[in-house]
Symmetry: C2
Subunit: 628 residues, 2 copies
Amino acid sequence: MIKIVTAQLDIIPGNIRKNWENIEKEITFAREQKAQILVFPEMCLSGYLIGDMWDQPAFLRECEAYNQRIIDASSNLTIIWGNVAIDWEKTGNDGRVRKYNAAFAAFNKKLIPPVNSNWPYTVKTLLPNYRQFDDPRYFTSMAELAAENHASIESTLQPFELPLPYTRETLTCGILLCEDSWDENYPIHPMEILKDKEARLFINLSASPFTLRKNEKRHRMLSASVQKLHVPMLYVNQRGMQNNGKDCYIFDGQSAAYTISGELSGETAPFTEAHSLFLFHPETGHLSISNQTSLPAAPTLCSAMQYGVASFLRSIHMDKVVIGVSGGIDSAVNAALYRSVLPKDNLLLVNTPTRFNSETTKGLARQLAENLECPYVSIPIGNFVQDTCSALNNLPIASSHGETALQLTPFMMENIQARDRSSRILAALSAQFHGIFTCNANKTELSIGYGTLYGDLAGAFAATADLWKYQIYQLGHELNDWFGREVIPEAIFTIKPSAELSDNQAVDKGLGDPLIYEYHDYLLKSFIEPWNRACPEDLLRWYKEGTLNEHIGTSVDAYSLFPTPSAFIADLERWWNLFSGFAVAKRIQAPPLLAISRRSYGYDLREAQMSPYYTDAYLKLKQEILGK
Amino acid sequence: MIKIVTAQLDIIPGNIRKNWENIEKEITFAREQKAQILVFPEMCLSGYLIGDMWDQPAFLRECEAYNQRIIDASSNLTIIWGNVAIDWEKTGNDGRVRKYNAAFAAFNKKLIPPVNSNWPYTVKTLLPNYRQFDDPRYFTSMAELAAENHASIESTLQPFELPLPYTRETLTCGILLCEDSWDENYPIHPMEILKDKEARLFINLSASPFTLRKNEKRHRMLSASVQKLHVPMLYVNQRGMQNNGKDCYIFDGQSAAYTISGELSGETAPFTEAHSLFLFHPETGHLSISNQTSLPAAPTLCSAMQYGVASFLRSIHMDKVVIGVSGGIDSAVNAALYRSVLPKDNLLLVNTPTRFNSETTKGLARQLAENLECPYVSIPIGNFVQDTCSALNNLPIASSHGETALQLTPFMMENIQARDRSSRILAALSAQFHGIFTCNANKTELSIGYGTLYGDLAGAFAATADLWKYQIYQLGHELNDWFGREVIPEAIFTIKPSAELSDNQAVDKGLGDPLIYEYHDYLLKSFIEPWNRACPEDLLRWYKEGTLNEHIGTSVDAYSLFPTPSAFIADLERWWNLFSGFAVAKRIQAPPLLAISRRSYGYDLREAQMSPYYTDAYLKLKQEILGK
C-alpha cells in the first residue's frame, strides 16, 4: 500500500512566496502522515490564470528559485508538482524565452527525471486554446518539442519511475497536466502513450476552473478512460479563485480517485480540504481516500457562489460591501449571498427610491434588510434627479445654424436615475464605508444590455452576472434554505420583475421588464452557451420546422407566445440586434463577473464590437415565411 | 509584364454582404484595367478581428456561400483572396468544425488549387499567438495538417501556378498569409519552402494592424527576406478598423512591392487607396506601382489617430461627439482630434467647473472651443457636488454596535466631482446630443489608475488612451500643424497638468499631477512595452548599476530626480503598487481604446486582477541598497 497525500492548494495567483508557504505546510503534513508521495496541482507556485505576467523575466526567475526550494524539501518524500519550466537558451514562437507548463518530481533533494527523457521534467502535451484558455500563448507543448527534435510524441512522452520512501521499490507513474486527460478532440492521446510505457498509475495535476456540471463530465470522461486503459487515476485540482480580468473562476479542489473499473472511488470535499490522504494498492490497482465512507455531495449553485464571492473579496482584500437594494429579486439575492459570507455589519444596504418606486418594493427592500440584520439606509434621489433634468432639459446650444435646445426624453431620464444611484450614491457610500459596491446584473440583462452603463452596470464585482434569471430565482431559494428561513421575502420571488424607472414599469399594475424570462432566458442562452452557437438563421429554421422549443430548451411554448410568424421574427430581431450590437459595448465596460456557466461573457466569449448581421439564408427564410 | 491590381479593402468586420459589395467593385475595376491578377487581403469576406463569431456555424456557411461568388466572378481574371476554409468533416482541437485561415485562387469560375496539393487552397502555416493575436484559437495550421498526414511541411506547402489571362502563360507564385512572412521566431520558414518550389513571386495577403513604427520593421524584415531568397514580394494589406472589444486597431492598407535587391520599390498611400495597379516583369523580377514616382509619406501620429477616430465613429454609426474640456492638454487634444474629422456643429464641448477650476483653465477651455468653432457650454457643478456631499457626509448608519456616521474625506470628494462630470452631465448630454461622449485618458494615467471609474475614465471611446503624456503633447502640436493655426492655445501646452479637483491641485500656484511625466512616462513604459517587461527587480538593479536612464530611455536624469535611494525606491513602489494593483481593476472597466503602440492595455496586454508582487531578488537588493 502506497500512501499519497494530495494538496489541493488554495493558490494565490502571482504570489509565489505565499504559495510556497502553503506548499511548505503541506510538506510538513505529508511527513507527519508518513506519506510516500505528495502531489501538488498544476502551476502550484505561480498560479494558472495570471495573464501576461509570463512575459516578466524577473517573475520567471522567481518561479525557478522557488522550484529549487521544493526540490530541497524532498528529503525522504517523493514530491510531484506543476510549475513553469524555462529553457533560457531557446525561444517560443513569440520570440520570448521558451516556457513549458511542466510537471516535476523530486526525491531526496534531487529531481527525478522521466524515464529515458531528454528533459528533467515532463511537459504538458495538450495546450487548451478555447473558452478562457490560452495555454499556447505562453507555453511550448510536448508535441512541439517532439516535432522540433524530429521525434514522435510516442517516443518523447515518458512516465516517471517514482522512488517510494520507506521501501526499496518504485512506482511507474504517468504524470499528466490537466488537458492531457481531456484528449477527446486531439489527435494525440497522452494517457494511451503512457499506458503503453507500463504506467501503473496516472496522476493528473490540474488547474481546472469550476463551472456548473463540469465535474459530471469529468467523471464520465475519466471513468471511461481509466476503464479502457486499465490504469487507475489520481486527479488533483487547485482550490481558490483566479481571474483573467473580466472573468473570475473558482477552483473546487476536488481531488479524485478513479479505479480501473471506472469507478469514482474517492473524492475530496469541494472548496474546503487543504489536503487528503489517498491509499494506492499497486498489486490490485485499487485507489481510495483514507477513512472515506461515502463520496461528498457535489457543490450546489449556492455553495459555489458563496465560495466565489468570499474568494473574490479576499483576493481584493475587502470585507465590506455596499449593495443597492430595490426590493427586486436580483439585488435581494446579491444581498443574501454576500450576507451569507460576511458578518452582518459588513454590509450596507441602500435603497434609493424615486416616485416610480412602489411602496411594495420599498417595503420589501426594508424587510430584506431586517431579515438579514444589516445596516440599511434609504436615500431618496428624486430631487437630485429632478435638479439634473431641470438643468439639462432644453439646454440651449449655439451652433453655426443658430441656437437649438437639447431635449431630454423619458428614456434618457430613466438612465439619469440609474446613473445617479450607482455613480453618485453607491460609489461615494462604498468609499465612505471602506468597501466596494456590487453590480447586481444577471446574464439575461447583460446579454441584451438591459442596464445602464455607469448605472446599474457599475460596481466592483458582478457576482450573479453569469446566472440567467431563472438561476437567480434558484439561487434565491437555495439561499433561503441555507439560512434556514425566508431571508428573501416570498413576495420578492413573486413580484413582476421591473426596473421601476418610469410609470410604464409600475409593479403594482403588473408592469415591468420587456422580457418573458421563461422564454427569453433560453433564447438568449442559445446565442452564447451551445458549443455551436445559434444565429437567427438557426432559430428561424427551428421555428419553421416546429422544433424551436426543444432546440432552445424552454418549457414554455414559443409558438403560443408569438401568435404570428411576424411577431416571432420581430422579437427575435429585437434581441439579436441588442445582443450583437449595443450590448457588446456595454459588456466591454461591465465589471468582472463570477464565471459559473459553460460560457460566460468576458474572456470566455471574446467579442468584437460590430453591427448585428443576418445571413442570406436567414433573409431568404424570413421572406418565405412572411410571404413577401 | 504582368498587371496586378491589389485591393486594399476597407473591411467591415463581420459584414460579409458589405465586404462582398466592395469586392465586386474591385473586380470591375480590375477588369477595366485589363489586369491579369487581382489580389485581395487575408480574410477579406469576414474580417479578421471578429472575436468568437467563428463558432457560429451559420456565419461559416455564409463565408462559404460568398466564397463561391468570388469564384464565379473570376471570368478571364485570376483572383487571389483570403477567406476561412472549412472542413465540415473534421474537427479542430476544440471539437468544433475544422477551420483554416486560407488563401484561394480562382480563374474562369474555377478554383486553382496549389500545385500537387491535397487541398484546393493553401492554409496559413504560422498562426500568431501573442499580443492581440489568437489565430490558433480558431484555425488549424498548415503545420498541423502536415503532421496529421505524417508528411513534412516541406512536402505539404505548395505554390500556385496562376493562369495569366490574355496570354497562354502561367506564373508560379508563393501565396503567404500575413504571419507566414514574419517567420523569424518560428522553426518553419514558409518563404524558403516556396522558394525551393520555384516560386517567382511571393504574394502576402495580410490583415496586419497598424502600430507606430511597425511598417519600418516590416520593410526591414521583408527586404532582408526577399534579398536573401531572390524572390520579389507583393504585400497586400487591409484598410479600415477592427477591434477585439477593448482594443480598436486600424489597418493602413499600405500594399507594397519589394524587389529582389531588397528595395521597397512601390507602396500605396496609407489609409486612402482602395486599389492600386502593380506591374511585374517576370523576366527581371522587377515589381513596381504603375505611375508612382516616389514613395508616399509614412503615416504620422496625427494621420493615424485621425483615421482611427473617424473609423471608430463610422463603425458605431455615430457622428456626434460630446467632449468634456477642462482647459488641460488631454481634453484639448481630444477636442482638436475629433474636430479634425467632424464638422464643427457635430461636436459639443462642455466645461463643468467647480471652485477648484482656475480662471486660467476655464478661459483656455472657452478659447479652445472658439478656435475650433464648436458649440460650447459651461455647466458649473459646484452646487450639485456640494448637495451630494451634504447629503452623504456624516450619514448615520445603524449597525449592531450602535449608530456610526460615514465620513467623506477630501479624496472622496474629488472622486464625487469626477463622477458628477461624466456620469451625470456628459452621459446625459451625449444622449441629448444623439452622440457619444469621449474618455480623454492617456496611457500614463491608465497605467496607474490616475482617474476615476465612472468619472473621467468613462466614455464610449478612449482615443488617446494608448498615448503616453509626451505623445499627447506631440499629437497636440501635429494637430495645430494640421489645422495650420494654433487651435490648441499655446498656454495649454505650457500649463502644469492638473486634475483641479482640490486646492492642492491649483494650476496657478504650479500645483498639479503627482507625476514627473518626463520620467514616469518612461518608467511606466518599461512595465508594459518592452518584449521582456521590466519589474521592480530590473529597475532597481539598473538603478544600482547606474544604467537606469539608458534602460528606460528617459532624457531626464533619474538620479538627480531622486536624491536618495530610498526616495527612488519609494517612488518605484508607489507606482508599481498602483500599476499592478488597483489600476488593473480600473482598466477592466475602462472604455475601448485606439491601439497604436507596441503594447496596449486591453486585449493586447492581458491582465489578471492580482496583488502587486516583489521578487525575493528585489527585496534582497532593496535591503542591500538601504543597508537594513
